[in-house]
């Protein structure tokens, strides 16, 4: 979709039963999953019987005239779609193969999904508690990271095409991408001077839910607060009772946010902060040199002034579903702006048009 957003003509080749993501949800809009609608705009859809020689032949013809192919290599419907085959008739093709775990190694052919990859790449260790059921990242980070890396690789390969005189094959995987995004941890585990720190604490700390105000949650960071402000802050937060707590000594050191002892004294801060609204707590804490960040859910985001000012969310006509809301792409090009040209296609919506273009 990102390539489509950037202006490419994207032809989505679907089987007769269609992309399984059409059936995801609820929620659905107009009978198609909301997730599908927002991952498939700016594309045209051709539906082919990929079990038949005719269908496969048509797909091969599309591939033979394309600049780019994006292929789920763990679920190839037919060997004709392998890179070696396709490149014979189209050596200029940039063929982006996406696999679950990588194109080499004992799991090269292993079926994959978002949760399995999150688990296998250690990503769930950044959530939940040891000994309790694993907690997944709600955002589909493995899939999204692989997609983003895929687009990077495709663009780079297109740039190289003139220089080397041909296309090439490019492999990305969900597993590899998620491991790459955790690189900071691998470096942190490489013989550090000390075995604690902002990054390593992710293995050690319990779940953090932010700080509860009476009407919402905030995240607080007092790292920049001047020495000596602590007392007056505690007074303004009506936390005098805290002096009797045996963990009071920790409050003076890295005791909030991602600080080293934040989890040790979280309950003390919670008790204080929950007396106030978000606005009140923000006011008090920032007055003393601390930083406060509101913790938004999506409803709060949609109603946020900055989000509105930037025009992030817009309303589009989605045939079959009426008007739906979606987000604009994340980049702004001054001279070659993106366009949202096509809504997400119905299954096979453009079959006839594409066949005509192919000259059949």
């Amino acid at each position: 979709m990102e390539l489509g957003d950037a202006g490419a003509d994207v032809i989505k080749i679907e089987s007769l039963s269609g992309d399984c993501a059409r059936g995801w949800g609820p929620p659905q809009e107009g009978g198609t999953s909301s997730v599908f609608l927002r991952l498939n705009r700016n594309k045209r859809s051709i539906a082919l019987d990929l079990d038949s020689t005719e269908g496969i032949a048509i797909a091969c013809r599309i591939l033979s005239s394309a600049d780019v192919a994006v292929v789920d290599v763990n679920r190839l419907p037919d060997p004709s779609f392998r890179y070696e085959q396709v490149a014979e008739s189209n050596p200029q093709l940039v063929y982006c193969a996406i696999s679950g775990f990588g194109d080499r190694g004992p799991w090269a052919d292993r079926p994959s999904g978002e949760l399995p990859v999150q688990l296998m790449s250690e990503a769930t260790s950044s959530l939940g508690r040891t000994g309790e059921p694993p907690v997944r990242a709600g955002t589909d980070i493995a899939s999204m990271y692989a997609a983003i890396h895929g687009v990077q690789g495709i663009c780079a390969a297109l740039l190289a095409r003139d220089r080397i005189g041909s296309g090439q094959r490019l492999d990305v995987s969900l597993f590899g991408s998620l491991l790459a995004m955790r690189s900071t941890l691998w470096v942190a585990l490489s013989n550090p001077d000390e075995w604690w720190g902002f990054h390593l604490d992710s293995y050690v700390k319990p779940p953090d839910h932010g700080y509860p105000c009476s009407d919402g949650r905030i995240f607080v960071n007092l790292a920049g607060m001047k020495k000596g402000e602590l007392d007056s802050l505690l007074a303004d937060l009506k936390m005098d009772w805290v002096r009797d707590d045996r963990q009071f000594e920790f409050l003076a050191q890295e005791s909030t946010g991602a600080g080293r002892y934040a989890h040790t004294v979280h309950h003390l801060w919670d008790r204080g902060i929950q007396q106030f609204t978000v606005a009140e707590a923000t006011n008090i804490i920032e007055r003393h040199g601390g930083l406060v960040f509101p913790m938004n859910d999506f409803k709060m985001i949609e109603n946020n002034d900055q989000v509105k000012a930037v025009g992030m969310i817009r309303s589009v006509e989605q045939p079959g579903a009426g008007r739906i809301k979606e987000m604009i792409p994340p980049w702004d090009f001054a001279d070659t702006p993106y366009e949202i040209r096509l809504p997400a296609p119905r299954l096979g919506e453009h079959t006839d048009a594409i066949l005509k273009e192919l000259g059949s």
Partner: protein, 391 residues
């Protein structure tokens, strides 16, 4: 370059684990081990002890590596004749059947030594061939509990716990069998004759517990389960770390105590008279351990493993199979190896635990039952057996 036992041939009439695993090691050392099975038993044995790979018990695959396999029905006279022919070419004979069985099959020591006086004859059983328990069934679990092995495993305060990986005593017995074979071969070099050597699971498990039994003799006190802790050295146990994983720490030499205290930043412990020597620390174990537990819980395991090892104090994490099997320390030393087999794919095996500079050990696939019957018969110059074919 072949193994140290090249040229030695073994007549392997063993079952289950104790016997076969011993002869598998002789095979790794280069001996030509010929595993002799009765046709109907070969079929049965394939399916006992799950799990299985393609229908064959992994026990069978595991414990019969490095051998050739032939089928002989020793109840048939013609097959017994073949066996006697084979015996003439063998140096070692190993059996681990129930008392009386091997004699009924015409393969008792009297008969075998008459055919080939140079044969080293190993007879292994659970309890031995004398005493009130002769003939009682023996298995790893039973021998464990009888032999006192289980009585010293378990959480602090008991109850005693059976070691769940029930092959340790089988393989321990196998190791003593291998030892016996090698020693008897050495003896034969001197006096030119074979002999009968008896080994038992009970004897083997008691021998393994030498040091614990010595403690008992010295103190008159029955040792109790101590969780992960050691009875003789303190601290020597697992500690829970900040990230809820365990680290194993062992102060087994006096000069490791001070460095431990330094890494833990507990200088007052280092100066405390109650804990100065190992003897003191054992005596005051109950006072010392909680102090250490508290400190270990303040940092993640990585920290302790790295810092303690740097200070010369043994410390390690508890490894899991996933971690062990690809760890370079293991792979570079061939401690876990992959063995290609025709019938069961690639299997993992514990690599031979010795590295010979000139006569290296070698490992190859277990045979399918009867796989080498024809080959061995041909070597013996025998046309066929009593119509027995490999299944």
């Amino acid at each position: 370059m072949s193994g140290p036992l090249e040229g030695i041939r073994v007549f392997d009439l063993t079952l289950a684990m104790v016997g076969p695993f011993a002869t598998a090691q002789l095979g790794a050392l280069g001996a030509d081990v010929i595993h002799v099975e009765a046709p109907e038993e070969a079929g049965v044995r394939r399916t006992t002890v799950p799990p299985s790979i393609k229908g064959t018990s992994i026990g069978y695959i595991n414990w019969n590596m490095n051998k050739r396999g032939i089928l002989l029905d020793l109840k048939q006279e013609s097959d017994r004749d073949v066996a006697y022919r084979l015996l003439k070419t063998c140096d070692v004979f190993v059996e681990n059947m129930r008392p009386g069985v091997v004699e009924r099959l015409g393969m008792g020591y009297e008969k075998v030594s008459a055919i080939n006086p140079r044969v080293i004859y190993i007879s292994s059983s659970g309890w031995g061939d004398e005493g009130p328990m002769v003939g009682s069934p023996a298995a790893d679990g039973i021998v464990q509990v009888f032999g006192g092995w289980s009585s010293i495993n378990g959480p602090v305060g008991g109850p005693p716990e059976v070691y769940r990986h029930s092959t340790q005593n089988d393989s321990n017995t196998s190791n003593y069998i291998v030892q016996s074979v090698l020693l008897a071969l050495l003896a034969r070099d001197k006096n030119g004759r074979g002999q009968l050597v008896k080994t038992t699971m009970l004897g083997a498990i008691i021998a393994l517990q030498t040091s614990r039994i010595a403690e008992y003799f010295a103190t008159g006190k029955t040792p109790e389960p101590l969780g992960s802790a050691d009875s003789r050295t303190v601290p020597h146990q697992a500690f829970l770390c900040e990230d809820k994983t365990w680290v194993a720490v062992g102060v087994v030499k006096e000069e490791q105590w001070q460095p431990l205290c330094q890494v833990l930043q507990l200088q007052d412990l280092a100066d405390d008279a109650r804990f100065r020597t190992n003897r003191d620390r054992v005596a005051h174990r109950d006072e010392l351990v909680p102090l250490l537990e508290r400190t270990f819980a303040t940092k993640p395991r990585y920290h302790w493993v790295e810092e303690l090892n740097e200070a010369g104090v043994p410390a390690a994490k508890f490894m899991e199979w996933d971690e062990i099997r690809f760890h370079p320390q293991v792979t570079q030393n061939d401690h876990v190896i992959q063995v290609p087999t025709r019938a069961w794919g690639t299997v993992y095996w514990g690599g031979p635990p010795y590295h010979f500079s000139r006569t290296p050990a070698r490992v190859f696939s277990a045979p399918e039952p009867g796989e080498h019957t024809q080959e061995v018969l041909a070597e013996l110059g025998v046309a066929s057996t009593s119509g027995v074919q490999p299944e």
